[in-house]
Amino acid sequence: MLDFIRDLSLYNFVRGPLVWIAFLIFIGGSIYKVRGMILLAKKEKVVQPYMSFKLSLRSILHWVFPFASVNWRSRWVISTATFLFHVGLVILPIFLLAHNVLIYESWGISWWTVSEGFADIMTMIVIACCGFFFVRRIFAPEVRFVTFADDYLILAIAFLPFITGFLAYHQWLLPHKIMVILHMIFGSLMLIAIPFTRLGHMLYFFLTRAYMGSDQGYRHSQDW
């Protein structure tokens, strides 16, 4: 088994075609899903006429700033965890030095990166937040009541690229190369899963918030 994974052809497949496939599915799937939802919204007589760019933006900004809304303030533990988790989820893959090096080697372009120490701490925070969400699903009664198997599945999809990346960086548990291959596979899996599972909340967040912000703003109310 390990020999198969150590084989160069698997490594080449994972770092070449698989990444391309994952990105194509991610981008194509995202466009398909968002476009589908916007078309559905256009079918409704009471959605389109009330949409306002200004009010949508106000609502989105109100909720992406930590502790801006009433609910974020009233539950500071989950708010902190949520924001740290999502900031790590977005910043780490894009601004990690190792990722930048790969892109530089392939295309000769790169952008600014976060320091390795910071990335390490941030990864640990993301992993800890995953643990927190897992524990919350099990022990908070209101969350446990609405938890299904796929909730654990999408948590695992988000968790695996980070834990394997973390272990690969520290070269623990498995040989470095194997861990890197696993990391790439899980990373691709997450990209593919985003449009087609409820991880799609990454895309729909902006649409649903825009709707509720416009809907409330039209009544001269605002987000709490």
Binding site: V70, N71, Y204
Partner: protein, 285 residues
């Protein structure tokens, strides 16, 4: 056939059966006796097929991450010692998600519990949307479930009767046009005991404001009419009430998602406003 599918659904019965104090309502208890799984399936799928064609229904289904952050918004949840079955997302889980999962093939007993949840344990106040990080319209979804229950007739009898009244007379409480005009003139006389020459103008064309009371006011709370007349007259507002049907703003059809009656009530008020060339409609709330 009906019995067979009921048996099937009881065999795989894994839905959450709530142990609550029963609500004695003929609208639930009597109607449920006439329901079969096939009837329920037909009604549920009719509503689901409409829902599938709209973003307001589909977006929450595909976005909700089951975080239960909406729970603290719900006064039902807070006033029942944070019982998880009263959380908004839990109500959606026990009703809509189950119905979608089973494609409407559920027993009448299950549907009775669904009706109890959406009518007796949720006010559709939309406060949960203010607490949801995504701003998902949870009340709209539970409203769609109310629509399913309405199509089956599984509605609290009191509201259903008032909706029937609205669909027949465009008033909430079976008030005839004669009764309505008579009541307004009677209240005009009453107020004249306190304020000299007060008028309750009926059908005054070109007035600034048209006041649309609830049906309850002429029926059982006429002193509200007297008070409104006093306020309008002392404030010097150019106001009127409509003589024709369509003066009643109690839209009970909205609460049980009887869309047909709901739109007729609203249309009736707007028709009167257009006929009388009104600038502003004022409703009792």
């Amino acid at each position: 056939m009906a019995e067979a599918s009921v048996k099937e659904s009881t065999k795989t019965e894994d839905w959450v059966k709530l142990n609550r104090k029963p609500v004695a309502d003929p609208g639930f208890d009597e109607t449920v006796k006439n329901l079969t799984t096939e009837k329920i399936e037909k009604a549920v799928n009719a509503v689901l097929n409409i829902g599938k064609n709209g973003a307001r229904f589909m977006a929450p289904l595909e976005t909700c991450i089951h975080c239960a952050l909406c729970s603290n918004a719900c006064h039902w949840y807070l006033s029942h010692d944070k019982d998880p079955t009263y959380a908004p997302v839990a109500k959606v889980k026990m009703t809509l998600w189950e119905l979608i999962k089973r494609k409407g093939k559920v027993s009448p007993e299950f549907m009775k519990q669904v009706a109890r949840i959406v009518f007796c344990e949720c006010n559709l106040c939309r406060r949960c949307s203010m607490y949801c990080p995504f701003g998902l319209d949870i009340a709209f979804q539970l409203g769609m479930v109310r629509r399913m229950c309405f199509i089956l007739g599984l509605v609290p009898q009191n509201i259903l009767d008032q909706t029937h009244s609205l669909s027949a007379t465009l008033t909430q409480l079976w008030i005839t046009q004669g009764d309505w005009i008579d009541t307004m003139q009677w209240q005009e006389e009453e107020v004249r005991g306190e304020i000299k020459n007060v008028r309750i103008p009926i059908d005054k064309e070109g007035a600034e404001v048209m006041w649309c009371p609830l049906g309850t006011e002429p029926k059982v709370a006429t002193y509200h009419i007297a008070r409104t007349a006093k306020i309008m007259n002392v404030a010097g507002i150019d106001w009127t009430v409509a003589a024709q049907d369509g003066w009643d703003s109690a839209n009970m059809g909205m609460f049980i998602r009887d869309m047909e009656t709901m739109q007729r009530v609203v249309r009736g008020i707007y028709d009167n406003a257009m006929r009388l060339k009104i600038k502003r409609i004022v409703l009792t709330e």
